[in-house]
């Protein structure tokens, strides 16, 4: 017998509203129909009202989790259009803040997934560790979730070299705790029972359905937009973290691997950062069209910027990683057990306010 079960928009595992119609046969989900639009604000249209320098603030508020990378991608796009050479020190600082965002976002996700499979103390532990990263962010930018430190032509605040080295040292200490936390996720029997073999996505499927970020890398495809060498990534030595199995466990393992990778990238930045200015004066107006692509914690984000030489951009289009990850989510949910739905929704690391803009 077929039944349709509505899931959301207000649901205990969902911090954000999304609505899914789950078509179930007994306990098995046979079809999923998503509908969105609860958080649609239409902020892409705000470019018509706010000038292009002011819009950085709006871009940062597309999402409160990957906020810094949103702002940076927007700045990167406009800078490329206007042919602005950002000082190298600003590039390194942007890299440091991006990686701090990635660590806090992945720890946040680990907490949420733990909550989704019913391990509440693990949720609390992950978020306790996340607070320490937020302290570093607050000390360097003044904000906890919205940094406001990126601007067109550079960054607003500097971090002294000594402080940077301190941050790297602190993170090295925290990495020991991350290791313990990661051990629970990767080796605990009950956790493995909930994650191993659940929601398997093969490599060709992942590519064909257009998935991005950890979702794609957990299926064995080594794609990472940081390899495009925006910001300071050209001078950093790193390789994408991948896994082969494509199940929920693999996605969890990839994200845990990326936390350590980010710690390592920040260490390299603290050693390689050059001196000099952190911003340059911006003159002129943008003209032309450009696709800026960067890697967020959730995957590849795209900013399409089209400008016509006035203060207001003609069009800004943002394609966020969660939007691209919805089709693979539908794919892995068909055929799953109803009880696994919360875990599967969370393995794509959904960020609905990004998706609907």
């Amino acid at each position: 017998m077929r039944t349709i079960i509505p899931f959301g928009p207000q649901h205990p595992v969902l911090p954000e509203p999304i609505h899914l119609d789950l078509v179930v046969e007994d306990e098995t989900v046979v079809d999923v129909i998503p509908s969105i639009g609860f958080i649609h604000r239409g902020l892409e249209k705000l470019v018509e009202k706010k000038d292009f320098q002011e819009f950085v603030y709006v871009a940062e508020r597309i999402c409160g989790i990957c906020s810094f990378i949103h702002g940076m991608t927007y700045c990167h796009g406009v800078e490329q259009l206007m042919k602005i050479e950002v000082p190298p020190r600003a590039h390194y600082l942007r890299t440091v803040w991006s990686e701090l965002s990635r660590i806090h976002s992945h720890l946040l996700w680990l907490g949420l997934i733990a909550d989704a499979f019913g391990f509440e103390s693990l949720f609390m532990h992950s978020w306790r560790l996340r607070e320490k990263v937020l302290d570093i962010i607050e000390a360097t930018t003044g904000g906890r979730v919205i940094f406001g430190s990126c601007k067109i032509g550079g960054v607003r605040r500097d971090i002294e070299n000594g402080t940077l080295r301190e941050i790297a040292a602190k993170l090295r200490d925290y990495a020991v705790e991350y290791k313990d936390l990661g051990n629970v996720f990767l080796n605990d029997l009950t956790v493995k029972r909930r994650l191993c073999g659940v929601g398997v996505l093969s490599g060709p499927d992942a590519l064909g359905l257009g998935s991005v970020g950890p979702m794609l890398r957990a299926s064995g495809v080594a794609q990472d937009m940081r390899l495009l060498k925006y910001a300071a990534y050209g001078g950093i030595d790193f390789a994408p973290v991948t896994a082969e199995e494509g199940d929920s466990y693999a996605r969890c393992a990839v994200r845990i691997g990326e936390i350590f990778q980010s710690v390592e990238i920040i260490r390299q930045c603290s050693e390689k950062i050059p001196g000099g200015a952190i911003e340059i004066k911006v003159t002129g107006l943008p003209e032309g069209e450009f696709y800026a692509r960067t890697e967020q914690p959730r995957g590849e984000v795209i900013y399409y910027i089209k400008a016509n030489g006035t203060k207001n951009l003609e069009r800004l289009r943002v394609r966020t990683p969660t939007f691209a990850n919805i089709p693979p989510m539908l794919k892995i949910m068909t055929g799953c057990q109803l009880a696994d739905v919360p875990v599967l929704v969370l393995t794509i690391d959904p960020c609905i306010s990004c998706t609907e803009r």
């Binding site: 649609h40 064909g208 696709y291 795209i302």
Partner: protein, 135 residues
């Protein structure tokens, strides 16, 4: 490093063929997005190992029929429903067609409205010696 921006022009008639070519060559569908200009522009973006390719269609208005590429890339239905709801574009044969109920918004097809004309950059300030009239 500046990423190369490869823009190629195409037409609604040639679209399916071009997209099938990209699929066969192993490209990933990155996004579909539209822009309101004098008419409409639709961009289809693809990626293969960081090699980024764009196809652009230009339309005079949003009543012109465009074939859906959801038969080639299944995941395209999300983008195409979005284009229909936000821009009012007429996309034919989407395999999951929400009939305008994907984004339920206050104003349908708000993005199809023309952007206001660019603002005048500087307000005219009264120069010295100008008489300011009381109103």
């Amino acid at each position: 490093m500046i990423e190369s921006q490869d823009f190629r022009e195409t037409t609604p008639e040639r679209l399916i063929g071009e997209v099938q070519g990209m699929r066969d060559a192993g490209y990933r569908l990155v996004q579909i997005g539209a822009t309101r200009t004098e008419g409409f522009e639709i961009n289809y973006s693809f990626d293969r190992n960081l090699e980024f390719v764009n196809f652009k269609i230009r339309l005079a208005d949003n009543t012109e029929a465009i074939p859906s590429i959801s038969g080639v890339y299944w995941s395209a239905f999300l983008y195409e429903n979005e284009l229909h709801d936000l821009f009012g574009l007429n996309i034919k044969n989407i395999h999951i067609d929400y009939q305008g109920h994907f984004y339920r918004v206050a104003r349908p097809a708000a993005f199809a409205e023309k952007p206001p004309p660019p603002k005048i950059k500087r307000a005219v300030k009264p120069t010295a010696g100008t008489e300011v009239k009381e109103t």
